[in-house]
């Protein structure tokens, strides 16, 4: 799609590009079909979520799910949770997730793993860069096998807090795997693009929260999406509450149950712990679909098999602290962006943990009724949250793969990407030209990057005539109305400690909060004369890169019109 006309020099026609999402827990690969639809590729094991794990047995390399299984028997030669170590020195990494797999160690200026990756007893020191290269090679191979064409380039997603050094390290590791990195794009932006690229989605101005809840980290971004252009307004990152903590809750739950019937704690033995963890994760995933799930491990400890079940409500109760953590993180970043939850139009739940229904229902209660919550349990047409990033990356790859490397670099240069963004909305007053009484209707939203252009069609009075178009700036704020106090009918305290107490009582009347516009700076007035009965007026606002404004007003379908300019501030 949309290749630029003029290509000079070597034609990049030799490229065969894919999108790659590479997380600490899972990797995922996607390509675009001939109809420009992004699809995630299953590897040879049939997995679309490919654990970012490599394991070595007698010199043979395993990756993905097969490597993950090796965490039980061969944990020392199994490398997992390494993405965030790339481009960092040993002192600044958090190795805690590698507790049950090969331990990272300091090696020269980087991080490495000591593993037995060849036949024989010799151990080698393999840097995180080399491990990443091997992981990417396996992904590229799976994509090559699937598409039947040698994959040689990619768009790869990275967290919004990835440093330049980390990006360089990732690019180098990819190059060493035989992949040209067309572009590194931010994970939440990839997720948003995956949604916006759907044929049914309309280009609009909206403010979006992307909550990417993964295995070892949770990342949230508030994004101003304006006419299909994206600006990140705020981000937050959390390493305390993510998927593995939810596994842990289930591990502890079932370990305690096991102890009731047996004498040992399965958490005290490495192999039992590994089994407990794998099954806890499977149970957790099952609870995203069913309201009951089994937990069963053969020979968990002391040679004893263990089987049990748990229902979703129980799980949601014991994992409540983690859910609360997600809520706080998400509410916090909205605040950090200087916004209110009422100003969020869309919440995209991304990352594997976002399959959890409780998280989506919590979003439903945090945000306004008008906010779209895009998650599998709230929206039947939601895209699989585990696939969003790889899909977005594949879409971007197909958009730019025809470009010369130089063109891509020029377009992503700060000279092109750093631009002015409007501080206030620009709009028109309806009903009356009096700023204190007129109703503000936004035409261009605040945080829109300039240059920008928007057009609206607005009714004229019933019988037409001469009308006033008054262009003003507007700021949104939140109006809080106290409800009438109700007499207390029941004195019981609800301390939320009770196990199966799901809804908090709705008895307390809550403040009514609404978003309202406050009219600010008056910019211009224009007259459109002789509008016919039932006629509409078109108002077009064009803001140049230096904030000079051109206003054009005319009767829809009419000739001529009024046009005027406002100088840059």
């Amino acid at each position: 799609m949309a290749a630029e006309g003029q290509t000079t020099g070597t034609a990049p026609g030799e490229r065969h590009a894919i999108g790659i999402s590479f997380g600490n827990s899972n990797s995922s690969i996607a390509y675009t079909t001939t109809e420009d639809k992004a699809e995630v590729i299953a590897n040879e094991d049939g997995d679309r979520q490919i654990p970012s794990i490599l394991s070595y047995v007698d010199g043979e390399e395993y990756n993905g799910q097969q490597a993950k299984q090796q965490l039980i028997r061969n944990s020392k030669n199994t490398v997992a949770y390494f993405r965030d170590f790339l481009g960092k020195d040993f002192k600044s990494i958090d190795p805690s997730h590698c507790h049950a797999s090969a331990h990272p160690k300091e090696f020269e200026s980087t991080v490495a793993f000591e593993i037995q990756d060849k036949e024989g007893d010799e151990r080698s020191t393999v840097t995180v860069s080399e491990i990443t290269t091997r992981n990417l090679k396996r992904l590229a191979q799976s994509a090559t096998d699937f598409t039947g064409k040698q994959v040689n380039s990619a768009v790869i997603t990275v967290p919004t807090d990835f440093s330049e050094k980390q990006k360089e390290a990732l690019t180098k590791a990819a190059n060493d795997a035989g992949l040209e990195v067309l572009q590194l794009i931010h994970e939440p932006i990839a997720a948003l693009l995956a949604y916006d690229a759907r044929p049914e989605s309309k280009v609009s101005d909206k403010t979006v929260v992307v909550a990417d809840l993964g295995g070892t980290r949770s990342d949230v971004a508030v994004i101003a999406s304006r006419g299909g252009m994206y600006t990140i307004l705020a981000t937050a990152h959390d390493y305390e509450f993510a998927g593995v903590q939810m596994d842990k809750v289930l591990m502890d739950h079932f370990a305690k149950e096991f102890i009731k019937w047996n004498t040992t704690d399965p958490r005290e033995n490495d192999r039992s712990l590994a089994k407990l963890k794998l099954e806890a994760e499977a149970t957790k995933k099952a609870l995203s679909i069913g309201t009951n799930a089994n937990f069963s491990v053969e020979s968990l400890a002391e040679g004893a098999d263990f089987a049990s079940t748990i229902n979703r409500l129980r799980y949601e109760t014991i994992a409540r602290k983690i859910f609360d953590g997600f809520n706080r993180l998400i509410e916090g970043v909205v605040k950090k962006a200087g916004l209110d939850v009422l100003e969020i139009d869309e919440v995209i739940l991304s990352g594997g943990t976002s399959h959890t229904p409780k998280i989506a229902s919590n979003m439903r209660s945090i945000f306004a009724e008008s906010t779209t919550i895009l998650a599998p349990s709230t929206t039947p047409t939601a895209i699989n949250p585990s696939e969003l990033q790889a899909r977005g990356a594949a879409l971007q790859a197909s958009l730019i793969q025809e470009y010369e490397k130089e063109d891509i670099e020029q377009s992503t240069h700060p000279a092109v990407t750093t631009v002015k963004h409007l501080s206030n909305a620009i709009g028109v007053l309806s009903i009356t030209g009096d700023e204190s009484r007129g109703v503000f209707t936004p035409i261009i939203s605040a945080e829109t990057a300039v240059p920008a252009r928007r057009t609206i069609h607005i009714n004229s009075p019933k019988d037409g005539g001469d009308v006033l178009v008054k262009i003003v700036e507007g700021g949104s704020h939140i109006k809080v109305t106290k409800p009438e106090p109700k007499p207390k009918t029941n004195g019981e305290k609800n301390d939320g400690e009770e196990d199966e107490d799901e809804d908090d009582s709705d008895d307390d009347p809550e403040d009514v909060r609404e978003k309202v516009w406050k009219v600010g700076n008056v910019l211009a007035e224009a007259a459109v004369k002789g509008v016919k009965k039932g006629g509409k007026v078109e108002v077009m606002i064009n803001v140049a890169g230096d904030l000079a404004v051109t206003v054009t007003c005319r009767e829809v379908g009419g000739k001529g019109g009024v046009r005027g300019n406002l100088s840059a501030p």
Partner: protein, 63 residues
């Protein structure tokens, strides 16, 4: 082009005695803006970058 936002609340009548040259009165300028980075991703960004690099306006781009 794309469909435009439709607003049903009507515009006010032109006040008695309002007059301006060519029916347009410039009154103010925009409030100062903030510098931020747009993400170089997606088809609309590419169109933006193309305009920026070739110093083209929207209407030149429409043609």
């Amino acid at each position: 082009m794309a469909t435009h936002t439709q607003v049903s609340l009507p515009l006010p009548f032109l006040p008695e005695g309002w007059s301006a040259e060519k029916d347009f009165k410039a009154i103010g300028s925009l409030t100062a803006a903030t510098q931020r980075s747009i993400e170089p991703v997606g088809p609309h960004f590419l169109a933006h970058a193309r305009r920026a690099r070739h110093k083209r306006t929207f209407s030149e781009d429409d043609r």
